[in-house]
Symmetry: C2
Subunit: 233 residues, 2 copies
């Protein structure tokens, strides 16, 4: 019962009560993404959110608690699995499913509509995983990846458990994440790349095409994936 107060407001509460709470979350997400956990002072966050310094301690039980909640909030705002599953027509050809998946992924990651700090925040977690990453992998990433695996398996013409599915799944995701995670370098290499909606669609199309070629080319030649170095050592 010691955390009764904060728990009550963190779940679902009367909208008025959550006012400064969400303001804090959005402000924190922005600056955490920009400067990282250690690079940010809660005084800055509170100033940006128009809240008192004590508010973060009251609502989130400290800076770390705030960060944890920001991460959840970020992923919650990002592409939801449900949204994806709804968007994917169940009885369409696998290539079309892949197209929907990739395009949705790109849109939710790069398009300006959503809180734009999602990507940076998650990229930070990749480099410097916090305790919150485990929750994130379990609740958000695993189901999305499972969905992708089912599509890949269909395209390869094998069962989901086939070892090749893992690797071609990685090929798909890697080509999606690349454009977000390496933006600074990419924009320096290609100054004419502005990440407009049209360009994002163009890139997504390329990824879909590339992966389709790769997987169709690999069909029936998947023996090499049967023996995997195990890596126990």
């Amino acid at each position: 019962m010691s955390t009764a107060k904060t728990d009550k407001t963190s779940d679902t509460g009367h909208p008025a009560e959550q006012d400064t709470r969400v303001r804090l979350l959005e402000a924190a997400g922005e600056v955490f993404a920009e400067r990282g956990f250690h690079g940010v002072q809660i005084r800055d966050i509170c100033a940006l959110a128009g809240a008192n310094i004590a508010a973060v301690n009251y609502h989130f039980k400290g800076k770390e608690g705030l960060y944890r909640e920001v991460l959840k909030y970020a992923h919650h705002c990002a592409m939801a699995v449900d949204e994806l599953q709804v968007a994917i027509p169940p009885d369409a050809p696998a290539e079309q499913k892949l197209g929907v998946f990739v395009h949705t992924f790109f849109r939710s990651m790069l398009s300006g509509g959503r809180p734009s700090w999602n990507g940076k925040l998650l990229a930070r977690e990749m480099i410097e995983p916090s305790a919150a990453l485990d929750d994130l992998v379990m609740s958000e990433i695993t189901p999305k990846f499972a969905l992708l695996r089912s599509i890949v398996a269909e395209m390869l013409g094998v069962a989901i458990e086939h070892p090749a599915v893992r690797w071609f799944g990685a090929s798909v995701i890697s080509q999606c994440l690349f454009w977000e995670h390496n933006k600074p370098v990419i924009q320096r290499l290609y100054p004419d790349l502005s990440y407009s909606d049209e360009q994002i669609r163009f890139i997504a199309d390329h990824v879909v095409r590339t992966c389709t070629f790769a997987m169709l080319g690999a069909r029936g030649k998947l023996d090499e994936y049967a023996t995997w170095p195990e890596g126990k050592r």
Copy 2:
């Protein structure tokens, strides 16, 4: 003349004098990569390097100066372009060139031999670019990417200037960087992945195979890459 003392030792000095200096650089690189600039206390660095707390101020004029030098040091240790160009047989088939490129890339990025903190440090620059990133792109990344583009162009059967080259080049690099940049999540999704040398070779082989299939499949169908949204807007 105010910085005469430190300048004298930073350039080239008698080996005995640089002892704690390089020890400091290596220790700092390790922890900076792991926890980021703000997440690191110089007391930790000094403890790891077996140096006194005042040493970093004496040799580098402060924490920031140390970070700056660490970044230079990291670039210097990273995969050299020359090394790559030497390793690639000039008159081999393009697919073999790609194989050498990808394998060398993976080895220099993931294998334990080199200072293993290079990758993380550079990944941090992607998220939170410092002033040093421009130098990095110019001196290290651009020439490597140019080399890759020449290989890709050969495999696609087009000139280097062809717009498709850019995108397939990205497909190759993205699948390489993925395994380094997203290690934490990947290892959570696949606990049996230990990044042993054998596994790294396995992954690199997959990437080469995938990209080969994709590019061979795309040969002759590159019309769609001719019209690019320009993105001026």
